[in-house]
Subunit: 338 residues, 2 copies
């Protein structure tokens, strides 16, 4: 007897798109409390949770990383686990203070590879100024897990909390640089073709800090699984607004676009692991952009604007003056992308 | 060419004994900071980390669970992930306020099984009064992971911090009930024989709370991987004392002892997932024991005492008046025990 697809967990449930969202909403119902006292939890459906901490906030986040290949051009699963985790804190306005990891390793995994991964992970954690708080190591017999999976937890302190529901009508939308590079690199490897492209995986705290110091920021998000398309949809939905994206302003590398075209996916649905989407007050956007350029994010660009809620959360203005719906990605775009 | 064993990660690295400890000490060196400001992190090598929180402490912990079978007599991986995580908070004196989980699921895993696991997990989290703060879901293609692995993160608030270095000469050592049941159940299943034994997996916060309300508690620990042997060694080493264990006072069920005997392992090295070791001031031990009995931990017993540091951290007094060293377990006693 073959079970119906709905009876089984499929790759799309972990793809970070609509199926993941539905499963999270389902899971949430079993839990009595969705937020700590005076704080925010799974009620927010945001990158992290928060607790009041004196006159500041503590922000928490957790993610598991399963990227394949474990070592990819521009990084490895260690960089990804640390950057992905600490970036989730950064986009909520928090400066990371602590990091924890759990390693799920297949028996027989080379010790040298593990050491390289740890070194990469520590490099990012050290750069962000966070402390290693603790962790866990589990080893599964051969076949129990394919090489290695890493879980990252991060805690940070925010003077002011950025939330995805903060976008306001009139705001401008900025991206810190070309999108989709990480997704394209992993996709190219999985499809077995050569590319000179490197993953963008890095800690983006300095970008958020530069932006927050330069002007009034209303929301930020790192466009990982589901790419820019998912990130903008989440911000627009949570904020009750519509975002108009100017297609020709969105920075996408030639190679990334090429790989996306061959694979038949939208580059705007491909994961970035070292970029941020920043929603700024319109009058401050120029200052924020200059600050990003000065901080080394030379390809940062204004890519759209926040307007009043229309029929759809995100609309993409195409080069020829057309307008199309930029939907939340669904299905499994690239398995084991992060 | 066959690599030397040292070049590869082996099951013992995840066994929670000396090899795990060594690997953690190695990994730690790559990180510049080992503790947050005014707090404790991987410098403690304890069950959790902490941060000052007003006049209290926030305690954090993370663990990944890989138990096989996923459903076992007395529980499942969901119970284990929630109880294991929240128990690590409880033994540091903290009341859980938040929980996060990440699910690493194999494509094709039955949805009904996942729902059962979530229901179990939520049951424990709800019982402990914690909120679901967030989480992550990743799905790996078939063969990427064997069924499911779950990571649990917990945060709690402690009025007074219990640390494993708190045991003092003269203290008495109490255990909340029979040890090794979880390890024995999983071991029996893996060896393929029948047993009426059930895992002890449960939340032990009420035991710690009852003990702390009844008397002066100096340290506590949940004897999971590595069992009572590892837990007592860790407390003794961290506290710079020796613990004498009275072998005939340690509660071990007949079935557990039988399974351990057949498998040729020491029941004191088998994991419990619903018991705690509590080190109490000698004068208060009787009150603490009564409070535990009254709270339903009817098999709680005083099992030993803390003496000045001798040659070895833990010495086991055998029935016939002999004394032997109770060492930290090494090797992989039971793979995928938790």
């Amino acid at each position: 007897m073959v079970a119906a697809a709905g009876d089984r967990i499929g790759l799309p449930h972990g793809g970070g798109g609509v199926e993941t969202e539905e499963l999270i909403l389902y899971i949430r119902r079993f839990f009595r409390k969705w937020a700590p006292e005076n704080g925010g939890g799974v009620d927010l459906l945001d990158d992290g949770a928060f607790l009041p901490y004196g006159d500041k906030y503590l922000v928490f986040t957790i993610d598991t990383y399963t990227v394949k290949p474990v070592f990819f051009p521009g990084g490895d699963i260690g960089v990804l686990a640390a950057a992905g985790t600490l970036n989730d804190l950064a986009v909520m306005g928090a400066r990371p203070i602590g990091f924890m990891d759990t390693l799920l390793i297949e028996e027989g995994f080379p010790r040298k590879s593990l050491e390289k991964i740890i070194e990469s992970m520590a490099g990012i954690v050290n750069e962000a100024g966070a402390a290693l708080l603790g962790g866990d190591i589990k080893v599964m017999p051969r076949g129990g897990v394919d090489e290695i999976a890493v879980t990252g937890f991060g805690v940070g302190v925010a003077d002011r909390l950025l939330r995805k529901d903060g976008a306001r009508i009139g705001d401008l939308v900025i991206v810190t640089g070309p999108v989709g590079d990480h997704g394209a690199v992993v996709l190219a490897h999985q499809l077995g073709f050569e590319t000179s492209l490197r993953s963008d995986a890095r800690y983006i705290g300095p970008a958020i800090e530069a932006a927050m110091n330069a002007g009034e920021i209303h929301a930020a998000k790192d466009p990982t699984r589901g790419g820019l398309a998912m990130a903008l949809n989440e911000i627009a939905e949570a904020s009750g607004v519509t975002i108009i994206v100017w297609g020709d302003k969105v920075p996408v590398r030639e190679e990334t676009r090429g790989i996306a075209d061959i694979a038949g996916v939208d580059p705007l649905a491909l994961a970035s692991e070292g970029q941020a989407v920043i929603v700024a007050k319109r009058g401050d956007a120029e200052k924020v952009l200059s600050a990003l350029h000065a901080a080394g994010y030379t390809e940062a660009a204004v890519i759209g604007e926040v307007v009043e809620e229309k029929m759809f959360p995100v609309l993409l203005e195409t080069g020829v003056g057309g307008l199309r719906i930029l939907e939340k990605p669904s299905g499994e775009i690239v398995p084991r992308i992060c």
